[in-house]
């Protein structure tokens, strides 16, 4: 029998090792699995690489994990959000590495990781600092950059409704990075606000099929 419902956040996060790359869904505050990310604070893995569009706001969620000092590197598109305080302090103090990636390239690199691709050629960043050190290929008269995939040892996403098979729906624009992030984790964990109790979700509504999801935890919205 398939049952991916975890009893607790701690159970879902068990076994995450030092040095892991952790992909985190969400854009700004929408769709960030804050309960799981804060569970990482308790879980204790160190020397982490975090991947998210932003770099946390306030002192909760991603910012709380950053504040533990256990994150070695942040890969994101926009670390300078309103209300972002922890990351700028760590960066200014030289305590964290930063890789800034154009947003569409970040999303596609994660998707490529989940889709088993060795990379892709994108026009984004041609002729800019982003192109430094990257292969440029001319295809049909237009220049493209080679961008490499991002895979996660762990992927954390926030869904809306899940069933025991790990199938997920999302709510409104909180979907954002979730479906690509869910594909790209060696172990993918979802927090959701509702568990569908009677068998499987309506297959027409499923956005992330359960094959991509290893564990689901219900949290309070």
């Amino acid at each position: 029998m398939i049952d991916k419902i975890a009893r607790s956040v701690a159970d879902a996060l068990e076994g995450i090792e030092d040095g892991s790359t952790v992909l985190i869904g969400g854009f700004g505050e929408a769709g960030v699995p804050n309960v799981l990310v804060e569970g990482m604070v308790e879980q204790g893995a160190r020397d982490l690489v975090l991947v998210n569009n932003n770099a946390g706001v306030g002192r909760h969620g991603i910012a709380a994990l950053l504040e533990t000092g256990r994150v070695r590197k942040m890969i994101c598109s926009f670390p300078r959000s309103v209300g972002s305080v922890v990351f700028p302090e760590l960066y200014a103090a030289g305590k964290i590495e930063l890789e800034v990636v154009p947003q569409g390239t970040l999303s596609e690199r994660i998707r490529a990781g989940g889709a088993g691709l060795g990379g892709f050629f994108t026009p984004t960043g041609v002729g800019t600092q982003v192109a430094d050190g990257k292969e440029v290929r001319r295809i049909d008269g237009k220049d493209y950059l080679l961008e490499l995939p991002i895979r996660g040892d762990v992927a954390l996403v926030k869904g809306h409704v899940a069933d025991r098979f790990g199938n997920l729906t999302y709510r409104k624009a909180a979907r954002n990075f979730g479906p690509s992030v869910a594909m790209a984790g060696r172990r993918t964990i979802a927090e959701v606000s509702e568990i569908h109790e009677n068998g499987g979700l309506d297959p027409e509504r499923i956005v992330t099929p359960g094959i991509f999801v290893d564990a689901v935890v219900k949290v309070e919205r």
Binding site: F27, E29, R80, V100, P102, G104, Y170, P179
Partner: protein
């Protein structure tokens, strides 16, 4: 003495040029104001990088849904016919040439249409790119909304950008406080200019050499 357009007036002027049925991304900041002036007789689908087509107006106080925010992380609403989709699909729309237009702010634009709008090269500031580079290279038309000069009076239309580029040769048109300027094959061409300033006056506000279109017109906007 020429009275330059206010930012609201520039936004109004851009809105008049957005055709019925267009799919448009309005960049964070100044360009967002364009949405307020879209003529009522046109149905325009606004795109947001975080997976929304059909952005509607801001919700009333107390009606905010924080799962429904725009690329600037502000709460929005969805119009009839709107849709949600995931980020990778959203940027497939961007890079795949599916957006008719994107309106972006700029620090600098070069004579060839290079755009610099993500960094001033100040290393004490955190670098942050967001979706600007994808939009610059992907949307079919790139309109820039900006003042001709910085607050300190330095021209922003240059022979070459001195700040790090967002995209090469991507800008089609600049809507500014004094003029509407196309980036043509042979450089910037003034299409419209406000009353009270001539080409020489405009040229004082741009480093790159400007040319006046033969069919140039007067740039007007209502008091806003």
């Amino acid at each position: 003495m020429a009275k330059p357009l206010s930012r609201l007036q520039i936004a109004w002027r851009i809105a008049q040029d957005i055709p019925d049925g267009a799919y448009v991304n309005l960049g964070i900041g100044m360009p967002e104001m364009v949405a307020n002036y879209l003529p009522d007789d046109r149905e325009v689908m606004l795109h947001s990088e975080n997976g929304i087509l059909g952005l509607g107006p801001s919700p009333a106080d107390g009606e905010e849904d924080w799962d429904l925010i725009n690329a600037g992380k502000k709460p929005v609403t969805l119009v009839e016919g709107g849709s949600y989709f995931h980020h990778t699909d959203s940027f497939a729309m961007v890079r795949g040439g599916h957006l008719d237009l994107c309106v972006l702010g700029a620090y600098q634009v070069s004579a060839e249409g290079d755009l610099a709008n993500w960094s001033t090269g100040d290393e004490s500031r955190l670098p942050a790119i967001g979706g600007a580079m994808d939009l610059a290279m992907g949307a079919r038309g790139i309109y820039v909304m900006m003042e001709l000069c910085t607050r300190k009076g330095a021209p922003k239309i240059l022979e070459r950008c001195t700040y790090p580029l967002t995209g090469e040769r991507c800008v089609n048109r600049i809507y500014s406080d004094y003029a509407v300027i196309d980036i043509a094959e042979d450089g910037p061409v003034v299409r419209e200019t406000i009353d009270g300033i001539d080409l020489a006056g405009l040229q004082d506000k741009a480093e790159a050499r400007l040319r006046l279109a033969e069919d140039w017109r007067t740039l007007t906007a209502p008091d806003l």
